[in-house]
């Protein structure tokens, strides 16, 4: 069912939610708009194209405590559960799409990641359709679009001086009927559908330039291509692309102990780091930038679709396009591999 909500009511709702859970929203600090915990709606930036960091920070945080242990002769272990309820507001379609891709890895199959599962359950996702896609956005390349609701519990579309809203899950309907009671008004279905359609059809210029069709198959025979050698030379091996990417999910498990107290935690790791695949023996199966750069793009454009059925491990959010310091990004690789020269 489609509804509308006035901007003031939306702010009231967010303020209300911030009282009993962690409110995460786009906020501008020192010139950077990113998703971060905020205390109230007053800190939220409503005018942004996309956030520098993604929803991944809150569903699969950069470092996450898993368990505590005591080693004073006995051994006791206490699991740390990410129990705090969170609500993430202002998620763009590319991030909403990324959640579905991450779910396949961390929840699908035989094992599921308990911490990720808990956070997913505890987090309410409020999407916000894109009014002004940035010139680095290419979500349409993958079949998403500026109105794509993906994993959203509630999706919002700015419509003139109000927001069109749609609750898509039980969690979303509970929000509308619970804390949001009285703040939403029923919308004219036909007019609402027209608004949604307009967002879905919004122009994403960069997306038109990047055609991913069939790249998984082309890459089947591309592993040994000279291309990887050529483009990888300029990579400086930072973790920027993987850390800002909403779909990269490599991590590292570590124990730290001091004075009889210990902590097990995990942190993101990056396939672009030289020591990522370094083994205790000192051997490194991905010894040079060539193997590492190839891994990142093969994983996203070949291994993932082969393993998880179809979709690519990229949502066209454009973060790596905008933030890689050397301009080595997935949209360029796609173009290159398809024969449209992008990287020198």
């Amino acid at each position: 069912m489609l509804m509308t909500i006035a901007p003031d009511n939306l702010k009231n709702l967010l303020d209300k939610l911030a009282r009993d859970r962690l409110l995460v929203a786009p906020s501008m600090e020192d010139g950077v708009t990113r998703l971060k915990p905020v205390h109230s709606a007053a800190e939220i930036a409503f005018d942004y194209s996309n956030t520098a960091t993604s929803i991944k920070d809150f569903l699969f945080p950069q470092s996450e405590d898993l368990l505590r242990f005591v080693t004073d002769g006995t051994l006791s272990i206490e699991e740390i559960k990410p129990e705090r309820a969170q609500v993430a507001f202002g998620l763009r379609p590319c991030d909403l799409a990324s959640v579905a891709l991450m779910d396949k890895v961390l929840l699908g199959g035989e094992f599921s990641d308990a911490h990720y599962q808990t956070r997913r359950n505890n987090t309410l996702l409020i999407g916000l359709a894109c009014e002004n896609p940035a010139d680095t956005c290419f979500c349409t390349t993958y079949g998403y679009n500026p109105g794509w609701a993906g994993a959203a519990d509630v999706m919002l579309y700015k419509d003139g001086d109000k927001y069109l809203a749609e609750a898509l899950t039980d969690k979303g309907r509970e929000l509308v009927g619970g804390p949001g009671e009285g703040l939403f008004k029923p919308a004219d279905e036909a007019a609402g559908e027209a608004v949604k359609k307009a967002y879905a059809e919004k122009d994403v210029p960069f997306g038109k330039e990047v055609d991913v069709q069939g790249i998984d198959k082309i890459l089947d025979g591309f592993f040994y291509d000279q291309y990887w050698d050529d483009i990888s030379k300029k990579c400086i091996g930072c973790g920027t692309c993987t850390y800002v990417c909403p779909t990269c999910h490599c991590f590292l498990l570590t124990d730290e102990a001091r004075g009889g107290q210990g902590l097990r935690f995990r942190c993101w790791d990056s396939c672009m780091f030289a020591n990522y695949t370094k083994m205790a023996s000192g051997a490194n199966p991905r010894p040079t930038k060539k193997e590492r750069v190839r891994q990142r793009f093969m994983h996203k454009l070949n291994y993932y679709p082969n393993r998880y059925g179809g979709s690519y491990l990229c949502t066209g959010c454009g973060r790596c396009v905008a933030m890689c310091p050397v301009g080595l990004h997935i949209a360029g690789v796609i173009k290159d591999v398809k024969g449209v020269k992008a990287h020198a």
Binding site: I236, C238, E256
Partner: protein, 323 residues
């Protein structure tokens, strides 16, 4: 009206083609078009057929010298293009005995200043077609409009106070040398303002900055002074600096990064420029720089010298505060 980088593009390509063909160099580190006309990207070419991808324009800021470390264990020479500031970075690597001078062929690029693309990209001029040097300003013509931009406002800060416009290390030069004068004096007023804050406010400021860091290490990887064979941040045992993003490790990372290059930083500003989270890293480097100037009477600590500021002392002249 003086020459701009683009005027030297053809000459650069010719020279690189020649050097690659006659075997003087096995590869060349230069620039190519990046994601748009404001962001040229580094490019490393090894074959003559790649040379036409090389570009030079007034947005070519990226300091390329750190790439040389990728080739130190290989035979043969690498070619590189270097502006004045880049040649300081190169001297850094040479002085630190990380790169040997005879394995680099440097094409020097006299430089009167590089346009700050981050500022210009916001002006809505579209795809840049042409840039003309008008003396005190640049005329930037794009397909959606053109603007004349005052250099004092639109150059990178480091270009405004640069006193190294002509490359100090070069095997050949593109064009004549440019006048070697700073457009304005080095300015530490932002550092002084920070020094004057009460401790609680300083701590709050840095906590906010350090908490935003994603520990991607782009700042380290681009820095010509961060050139240790094995970086302390990569050593897993003992783990001197933890890899979590809890505040203490963020503080330790930033303290260590800045401190490890104290007195060796060449003031290229690349760490701050590449940071995806826009941490004001030069506010750390400039604080150290300012104090070094004041305490040790070294007016230009950013010029590499055989003996570093913290690798020497003067028994009687150094300030004594610890009696």
């Amino acid at each position: 009206m003086s020459a701009i980088f683009t005027d030297h593009q053809a000459a650069l390509r010719d020279e690189v083609r020649k050097l690659l063909t006659d075997g003087t160099i096995k590869g060349f580190i230069g620039y190519a078009r990046g994601r748009d006309s404001y962001h040229p990207a580094p490019a490393i070419v090894t074959r003559p057929d790649q040379v036409d991808g090389l570009i030079l324009d007034q947005f070519c800021i990226f300091g390329l010298t750190k790439y040389l470390l990728d080739y130190i264990f290989e035979d043969g020479k690498m070619g590189i293009v270097a502006k004045g500031c880049d040649s300081l970075a190169l001297q850094r690597l040479i002085t630190d005995h990380r790169v040997s001078r005879d394995k680099v062929h440097v094409i020097g690029l006299p430089c009167a200043g590089v346009i700050n693309a981050e500022k210009v990209a916001q002006l809505g001029l579209g795809n840049v077609q042409k840039v003309t040097d008008k003396g005190a300003s640049f005329l930037v013509e794009g397909d959606k409009g053109s603007r004349e931009l005052a250099k004092t406002e639109y150059l990178w800060d480091k270009c405004l106070w640069c006193e190294h416009h002509n490359p100090a290390v070069a095997d050949s030069k593109l064009g004549p040398e440019v006048e070697n004068v700073a457009m304005k004096p080095r300015d530490y007023s932002d550092i002084e303002a920070m020094e004057n804050l009460p401790p609680a406010e300083k701590a709050a400021y840095w906590t906010r900055q350090f908490s935003r860091c994603i520990r991607c290490y782009a700042c380290r990887n681009v820095c010509p002074a961060c050139n240790c064979r094995e970086c302390v941040f990569d050593i897993a045992d003992p783990r001197w600096v933890g890899n979590t993003v809890k505040l203490s490790e963020q503080q330790m990372f930033h303290f260590t990064r800045a401190w490890h290059v104290a007195g060796r930083c060449v003031d290229c500003g690349e760490c701050e420029r590449v940071c995806p989270m826009e941490l004001p890293l030069m506010k750390l480097q400039h604080k150290l720089q300012k104090d070094i100037v004041k305490l040790f009477g070294n007016p230009k600590p950013f010029e590499p010298s055989e003996v570093e500021v913290l690798g020497q002392f003067r028994a009687t002249e150094d300030p004594e505060e610890f009696m």
